[in-house]
C-alpha cells in the first residue's frame, strides 16, 4: 500500500512551548487513520500544519509524492473540531462560497451540492439561514462542505460530536463510502469505540511526541499479553485452582454469561493455549475460552499513563 501523506520530523514551537517534537507519520493511501492522543498532545497543531494553516518550524510534509504547497488545499477536506458557519448567510450560498474557495467552479459546486443535499435528504435547507438550523443540522452542512470537492485526503477532527446516534451513523456510513471511493481519511477523536470500529491504522501522540504508530492489528498484537478469559463449570474448584496456579498466573475475570460458572483471567506466559485447555478440560466443563485482545482504549490509557 503506497503512502498518501508523509509527515517527516515536524517540529512546531509556540514561544518556549514545544507543540510537536520531531513527529513523523505515514498515512497509507485508502486507510482510515486514527490520530489519537490526550488533550493538548499536539494533534490539532499537526492537523493545522497539514492544512497549511500554520507552518512547521522544521520538517517537511509530502502529499502524494509532492512537497506540501498552497495548491494542495483543494486536495484536502478538513472538518475542524471547533467549527461553525456564518449565521446570517443562507445555507446554499454559504456552501457555494466555501466550495468555490476550495477551487470548484460555481457550476461544479452547485452540481456537487445538489448531489450531497439529496443524498443526505436536506434539500429543503438551501434557503434557510444557518441560525435557523439546529446544531446537528449545521454539523451536517459542515460535513458536506468538507467533502464537496472530492478531496483525496479528508481530515475529521471529532466528526461525531453534536450528532445524535442516527445521524452519527449516517455520517459514519458516508465516511466509509468515501473510503470506498478512494479517499484517505485521518480521523482524530477521543471516542475509542469509533476508532475501534473504523480505523485500520492508528498513531498515538502524547506530550508532543509520537509514541505508537502502525496497523491497528499490529499495534494490538504488540500489546497483547497472551491472556485468556476462561469460564468453567467445575465440581472441584479447589483442585482446579491448584492445577492452574501450578503453571499459570490467575486472576478474576469479568464477562457476561448466563450460567453461574467460575470466571478467570489466565496469563499463559510462554505456554500455548492448548496446554491450558488440557488442564481445564480435565477438571470441568469449559463454557468460555477467549483470548484477551487489548482494546484501543486499553492501549491508549496504558501508553499515556506509562509516560
Amino acid at each position: 500500500m503506497s503512502t498518501l501523506l508523509e509527515v517527516n520530523k515536524v517540529v512546531k514551537q509556540y514561544g518556549d512551548y514545544v507543540a510537536l517534537n520531531e513527529v513523523s507519520l505515514s498515512v497509507p493511501k485508502g486507510s482510515i487513520y486514527g490520530l489519537l492522543g490526550p488533550n493538548g498532545a499536539g494533534k490539532t497543531s499537526l492537523i493545522r500544519i497539514i492544512n497549511q494553516i500554520t507552518l512547521p518550524d522544521s520538517g517537511e510534509i509530502i502529499l502524494d509524492g509532492e512537497k506540501l504547497q498552497p495548491k494542495h488545499v483543494q486536495y484536502i477536506g478538513y472538518l475542524p473540531e471547533e467549527r461553525g458557519l456564518y449565521n446570517s448567510m443562507k445555507v446554499g450560498e454559504q456552501c457555494l462560497y466555501l466550495a468555490q474557495m476550495k477551487g470548484l467552479s460555481k457550476a461544479e459546486a452547485k452540481k456537487q451540492l445538489n448531489y450531497w443535499f439529496e443524498r443526505l435528504e436536506i434539500q429543503g435547507w438551501w434557503n434557510k439561514k444557518v441560525q435557523e438550523l439546529s446544531k446537528g443540522m449545521a454539523q451536517k452542512i459542515q460535513f458536506v462542505v468538507c467533502v464537496l470537492h472530492k478531496p483525496k485526503l479528508l481530515i475529521f477532527d471529532e466528526p461525531f460530536s453534536g450528532f445524535d446516534p442516527v445521524n452519527a451513523n449516517i455520517i459514519k456510513d458516508e465516511i466509509l463510502a468515501l473510503r470506498e471511493e478512494g479517499a484517505t481519511i485521518i480521523f482524530s477523536t477521543h471516542r475509542m469505540e469509533s476508532v475501534e470500529e473504523l480505523c485500520d491504522h492508528i498513531a498515538l501522540i502524547h506530550k508532543s511526541n509520537k509514541l505508537i504508530e502502525g496497523k491497528l492489528d499490529d499495534v494490538k498484537r504488540n500489546f497483547k499479553t497472551n491472556s485468556f478469559e476462561v469460564g468453567i463449570l467445575s465440581d472441584n474448584v479447589e483442585g482446579l485452582m491448584y492445577d492452574i496456579t501450578q503453571k499459570f498466573t490467575v486472576g478474576p475475570a469479568n464477562f457476561k454469561s448466563l450460567s453461574n460458572e467460575l470466571k478467570l483471567e489466565i496469563q499463559l506466559g510462554n505456554a500455548m493455549p492448548n496446554e491450558l485447555l488440557n488442564v481445564l478440560t480435565q477438571r470441568g466443563q469449559v463454557t468460555h475460552f477467549v483470548e484477551k485482545i487489548p482494546s484501543v482504549n486499553d492501549i491508549f490509557i496504558q501508553t499515556v499513563s506509562e509516560k
Binding site: 493545522r48 500554520t54 488545499v73 456564518y86 446570517s88 466555501l98 477551487g103
Partner: protein
C-alpha cells in the same frame, strides 16, 4: 474567479444585506435633513425683542438709544428718565424689562466713562454690553469734539475705510474669506476620511470577531491564506462603505434640493454653475460673489480630488489593517477597547491639529510635520492641499504613507493569522508582540 474577489464579494454582500446597513443608509440622511430643517426652522423664528429701560439723568444719550430701536438688534430701549431711579431699581425686574441702564447726571461728560450702570437679574450678553458701550463712547467723542470746536462732519469725511484686496504672486486676484473656504473644503474631506475609517474600520473588526465567534474561521483558513482573507475583508467592507456614502450623497442632494424648493429658498444659478457660465458671469459683472465662485474654481480641484482618493485609500487601508489585527486578537468587542484607544488617538489628533495648525499657518512646521507622519497625514495633508502644497512634500508624505501601510499590513497579517485561532484569553500587548515571532 480569484479567491480574493470571491471574499470581497461575500463581504460586500454580507454588509449590504445587513438590516442595520439598510436602515443606516436610508434613515440617516432623513435624520440629518430633519435635524437641519428643525434647526433652520428654529433660527427662522423671530427672537423675542427684549425691552431695556433707560434712566438718563444727563439727557445726553437717551435719544441715541431710542433711535436705534428700528435696528434689528433684538433690543428695544424705553425712555424712563422721568421716573425716580430708586423706584426703578426696585421694581425693574418685576416689570417685563430685561434690565435698567442708569446714566447719572453730570456736568463733565468725561466722568461718565466709568459711572454708567446696567442693572439686571440675568447677566447680559457680551455683544449687548459692547453695543451699549460703543453708543455711549461715540456720543462722548462727539461731545468732546464739539467742545474742542472741531467739525465733526469734516472728521467723519476725513476717516477712511481700508479694504485690502488679496492677490497671489501669480497675479490672480483673490478674495478675503477664501482661507475659511479652503479650510472648510480640506477639513470636510479630512473629516470624511476620519468618519469613514472609524465606522468601517470598526465594521472590519466586527466581521473578524464574528468569524472567530462563529468558529467558521478554521474552515475558511484551511482554503485561503489569512492574508487573502484580511485584504478581501477590508476591500469588501470599504466597497460597502463607498456605496453607502454614494447613496447618502444622492439622497442628501435630492432632499436638499427638494427642501429648498419647498421652502422657496433660491438655489439659483450659484448652485449649478459650470465654468463656462462662470466665465461669462465674470465678464459681465465682477461682483464679490462672482469672485468667490471664480476663486473656488481656481482651487486646485484636481489635486484635491486626487489627493482625497490617494489619502483615502492609504489611510483607510492603514487603519483597517490595525482594526483587523485587533479583531483577530480579541474574542469580543468589549475586549477591544484597550487596543482601540491608540488608534482613535492619532485620528482625533490629526483632526484637531489639522484645524488649528493649518488654519493658523498652512505651511508652518507643525502642519508640515503632521502632514508627513503616516498616521496623521491622510487628514492633515488633505487640509493643506487647498492652500497649495509643493509636490515634493506630497511625494514624501504619500511614499511614507504607503510604505507604512505595507509594513503595517505585514504586521497585522502576522497578528491576524495567529490571533484568529486563539480562543478564550484576552491577550496583552506583550503577547501580541510574541505572536509576531510565531
Amino acid at each position: 474567479m480569484s479567491i480574493i474577489s470571491l471574499i470581497i464579494k461575500r463581504e460586500f454582500v454580507a454588509k449590504v444585506r445587513n438590516k442595520s446597513f439598510i436602515v443606516m443608509t436610508f434613515l440617516s440622511p432623513l435624520l440629518f435633513v430633519g435635524i437641519a430643517a428643525f434647526v433652520g426652522y428654529l433660527s427662522s423664528m423671530k427672537a423675542e425683542t427684549k425691552r431695556i429701560a433707560i434712566h438718563d439723568e444727563s439727557g445726553l444719550f437717551v435719544n441715541e438709544f431710542v433711535s436705534k430701536n428700528s435696528d434689528k438688534s433684538g433690543y428695544k430701549y424705553v425712555d424712563l428718565s422721568l421716573i425716580d431711579a430708586k423706584f426703578l431699581k426696585d421694581s425693574i425686574t418685576n416689570e417685563s424689562y430685561e434690565g435698567l441702564l442708569l446714566i447719572p447726571k453730570t456736568t463733565n461728560v468725561a466722568d461718565l466713562e466709568s459711572k454708567i450702570q446696567f442693572i439686571s437679574n440675568d447677566s447680559p450678553s457680551i455683544s449687548f454690553i459692547e453695543n451699549v458701550q460703543s453708543i455711549v463712547a461715540n456720543k462722548i467723542t462727539n461731545i468732546n469734539l464739539l467742545e474742542a470746536k472741531l467739525d465733526t462732519e469734516a472728521i467723519k469725511n476725513a476717516q477712511s475705510k481700508v479694504n485690502i484686496s488679496l492677490a497671489k504672486a501669480s497675479g490672480e486676484q483673490s478674495v478675503k474669506g477664501l482661507n475659511e473656504i479652503k479650510i472648510a473644503i480640506g477639513g470636510g474631506f479630512g473629516y470624511l476620511i476620519m468618519m469613514f475609517i472609524i465606522i468601517y474600520g470598526n465594521m472590519v473588526m466586527r466581521s473578524v470577531i464574528e468569524e472567530k465567534t462563529n468558529r467558521i474561521i478554521e474552515i475558511i483558513i484551511s482554503s485561503v491564506k489569512p492574508f487573502q482573507l484580511m485584504i478581501g475583508k477590508i476591500i469588501g467592507t470599504s466597497l460597502a462603505g463607498i456605496l453607502q456614502f454614494f447613496i447618502w450623497a444622492v439622497i442628501g442632494l435630492s432632499l436638499m434640493f427638494a427642501a429648498s424648493v419647498f421652502f422657496g429658498v433660491n438655489v439659483g444659478p450659484t448652485a449649478k454653475v459650470s465654468p463656462e457660465m462662470m466665465q461669462q458671469a465674470q465678464n459681465e459683472f465682477a461682483g464679490p460673489a462672482q469672485m468667490y465662485i471664480k476663486e473656488l474654481w481656481n482651487l486646485p480641484i484636481a489635486s484635491i480630488l486626487i489627493g482625497f482618493v490617494v489619502y483615502f485609500i492609504g489611510g483607510y487601508f492603514l487603519y483597517s489593517s490595525f482594526y483587523a489585527a485587533i479583531g483577530a486578537a480579541v474574542d469580543n468587542q468589549t475586549d477591544s477597547q484597550q487596543f482601540l484607544l491608540p488608534i482613535i488617538m492619532p485620528l482625533m489628533l490629526s483632526v484637531y491639529v489639522g484645524f488649528f495648525s493649518v488654519m493658523s499657518d498652512p505651511h508652518g512646521t507643525l502642519a508640515v510635520v503632521f502632514s508627513m507622519i503616516p498616521l496623521t497625514s491622510p487628514i492633515v495633508m488633505l487640509m493643506r492641499i487647498p492652500f497649495g502644497v509643493p509636490l515634493w512634500q506630497i511625494a514624501i508624505s504619500v511614499t511614507l504613507l504607503f510604505a507604512t501601510f505595507f509594513s503595517v499590513v505585514w504586521f497585522a497579517a502576522k497578528i491576524y493569522r495567529v490571533g484568529i485561532l486563539m480562543y478564550g484569553k484576552k491577550p496583552t500587548w506583550k503577547e501580541l508582540y510574541k505572536w509576531l515571532k510565531y
